[in-house]
């Protein structure tokens, strides 16, 4: 089965693919947007139901959409097979809108230092830490555009560690809870620089979208009123309104196809158990830092024996996440009046130039908690059932205080995504096999951030302070794997997301990131996507990629 040739086919309707779909369709390109997961109408979906969220954990979308994966920490270990419900699977979403559809809302600009880590710190042994091929200043207009298109609320001019911004936030910051005020006051006492964290949540009516109703079950839930700034609420409606964008849900891409001369000319995907060939001039990959390299590696051919665009064996390399400690406790006073959305006060005073290691992280508070989740939020050794547990549940449910740090995970060449030679998914496609372990620097960051958070909770008056554990490896966020860079020998794509080897192939998702930074990645993913879209549109208008014009 074959279809009309599109100008661009985009694989993945999440954070980045939806940006490309909107921008290219508005510029007049005929776009086909493929998504392996279903299209869900938020209003028909389950509302803020904690049990249902737990039952569908870790992601939305049917479990059978997720292929098993193999995982190990080190090259000398055997791979363990992980099912989607296993811890460590590193799952993303399989749904139109991607993980942002139900994300916690954090929408950070990464500070300028993130883009020049090697210049700032020098080389770090055992890592592939490098400067980005794009600076904060170059990306600034795209950060601004992303903030205004999708809608970000926040407090500008308060955080001295942030880069210069050309415009304030489009919306005022979210309301915060008494516990956040405790953290703000404690941070000020310590001489830090607290601010209300930026979130992709509408705090007022924004482009026809409803403002936030402050439901306490927010992080991890689909917002049925559309207050969350997600691809579904902010990007896909304008993309589809152009008439140039065809969204195809439940479309699982198998491979990138080549024309008779060995040039990529589209993708083949499964839809209703049939294999469909979608031809396109441009192939744009936006499937996540695990699924994108998997697709490239599964698209090996005589011309690309090691996988598409993988002549230098860098596809799948440098897989990163964040090594994220979190710390919680309870206080003597009410920390939460029963409202969401949750993200509260942050400070960047330990973001960089800490003693004894590279990198750092923002620290921020989250006071929201839901009833079932709270049943395990106890100090170590405290009873997890019985009369004491029940009493603790009712005395402290509203007195919970938590800090989180999405800390730096440095890139390492051997942390990687490959495809399994033995295991295939139910469509017969080889599954991803992942190798990931933390670098000694990562553990130092983790330990340091954790100790700073414990200090801060104590300063804020909390007791029963307890921190999360850390494993040997694994990724909660998935970044890296198709690095962007100016040198074709040590990167997969250039600073516009374009493959060094194949000029009509783009990678636009979190795969391109050079370092992980100490921030949740969503806004940076989208700022990069806007930059890539700009470049593609400019090149398109000059006549690149017209049939017969350019050969590889």
């Amino acid at each position: 089965m074959s279809t009309e040739k599109a100008d661009a086919v985009i694989v993945g309707a999440g954070a980045s693919g939806s940006v490309l779909a909107k921008e290219l369709a508005e510029a007049g390109l005929r776009v086909v947007l493929l998504e392996r997961g279903p299209k869900v109408n938020p209003e028909d979906f389950f509302l803020h139901d904690e049990l249902l969220r737990r039952e569908t954990r870790p992601r939305v979308g049917s479990e059978e959409l997720f292929a098993p994966r193999e995982f190990r920490n080190q090259g000398d270990e055997k791979f363990q097979v992980l099912r989607p419900s296993d811890w460590g699977y590193a799952g993303e979403a399989a749904i139109v809108g991607g993980g942002m559809f139900f994300f916690g809302g954090l929408m950070w600009r990464r500070p300028p230092i993130d883009f020049r880590m090697k210049s700032e710190y020098g080389a770090v042994e055992g890592t592939t830490m490098e400067d980005w091929p794009v600076s904060y200043e170059e990306l600034e207009p795209h950060f601004t555009k992303a903030e205004y298109v999708v809608g970000v609320s926040g407090e500008a001019g308060v955080n001295p560690f942030e880069g210069a911004r050309s415009k304030p936030f489009p919306m005022p910051p979210t309301p915060i809870q008494p516990g956040d005020e405790m953290i703000r006051a404690a941070a000020k006492r310590k001489g830090y620089h607290p601010f209300v964290v930026p979130v992709g949540i509408a705090t007022k009516e924004y482009k026809g979208r409803n403002p936030c109703i402050q439901h306490p079950c927010c992080n991890g839930y689909i917002c049925e009123i559309g207050a969350k700034s997600t691809p579904v609420s902010a990007l896909l409606p304008p993309a589809l309104a152009t008439g140039n964008c065809t969204l195809v849900p439940d479309a699982l891409v198998k491979e990138i196809t080549l024309d008779g001369r060995g040039r990529p000319d589209g993708v083949r995907y499964f839809k209703n158990h049939r294999l469909v060939h979608q031809r396109a001039r441009l192939i744009i990959l936006a499937g996540s830092a695990i699924e994108t390299p998997r697709l490239l590696l599964n698209s090996a051919s005589r011309r690309f024996p090691r996988g598409m665009a993988n002549g230098n064996d860098w596809v799948g390399r440098n897989l990163m996440g964040h090594i994220s400690p979190w710390v919680w406790g309870v206080t003597e006073k009410t920390t939460n009046e029963g409202f969401g959305p949750g993200p509260g006060i942050g400070f960047d005073d330990f973001y960089s130039h800490n003693d004894g290691f590279v990198g750092g992280s923002v620290i921020y508070s989250r006071t929201e908690v839901s009833p079932i989740a709270f049943t395990t939020r106890r100090a170590r050794g405290a009873p997890l059932w019985g009369p004491g547990h029940k009493q603790y549940q009712r005395e402290n449910f509203r007195r919970y205080l938590r800090l989180f740090a999405p800390a730096e995970d440095l890139p390492q060449f051997e942390n990687r995504v490959e495809v399994s030679p033995t295991i295939k998914d139910k469509w017969g496609i080889p599954v991803a096999r992942i190798t990931h372990s933390f670098h000694p620097n990562d553990f130092r960051v983790w330990k340091f951030m954790r100790s700073k958070m414990i200090e801060m909770l104590a300063e804020a008056g909390a007791h029963d302070i307890t921190g999360s554990h850390v494993g040997k490896g694994g990724t909660g966020y998935q970044l890296g794997t198709c690095r962007m860079g100016n040198d074709p020998k040590t990167s997969v794509v250039n600073s516009y997301g374009q493959s060094h080897e194949v000029d009509n192939l783009f990678v636009v998702d979190a795969s391109v990131m050079v370092t992980s930074g100490g921030r949740n990645p969503a806004l940076t993913i989208q700022a990069l996507a806007f930059r890539f879209a700009d470049y593609i549109i400019r090149q398109w208008e000059t006549g690149a990629w017209r049939a017969g014009r350019r050969e590889v």
Partner: protein
Amino acid sequence: MKRREFAYSLAALALAPPNILLRAGGGQQGSAKGLTDDEKKTLGEICERIVPKDEYPGAKELGVVVFIDRLLQEAHPEWISVYRAGLHSIDQSSREIHGAGFAELKAEQQTALLERMERGDPPAAEFFRMVRTHTMEGCYSHPKWGGNRDKAAWKMISYDDFWA
């Protein structure tokens, strides 16, 4: 019965197919689909020890047995045999130690048995963990799932549910 034997008997039961367990259970009226009345009675006692009645309702009053029964039948039929094996094993241990079924024991005896299970070898400890998790889910989830009757558990922790 020694602790290790307790754990091993649970492991053996968990590995056995459900039809054998039904026969081992002494001809109880067990349907392969759901738990029997006797099993539910034992389960209710375990749940009640996990979230006991004080000035606020306990697990039984909150409807947690209804919740778990639904969870098993409607969402996780693969866990029914695990539950069945675990419940029979607890009851058997209770009979060997105290000469009476788990449901007939005093609350302190029940608690002691569960504490031993919680600290026991993986099969017993994991089964207890599973029941504990499901009990908490039943108590603190939306009443439409069968537990948290009259939203009593939410009221206890002053959880605002005006959107729910």
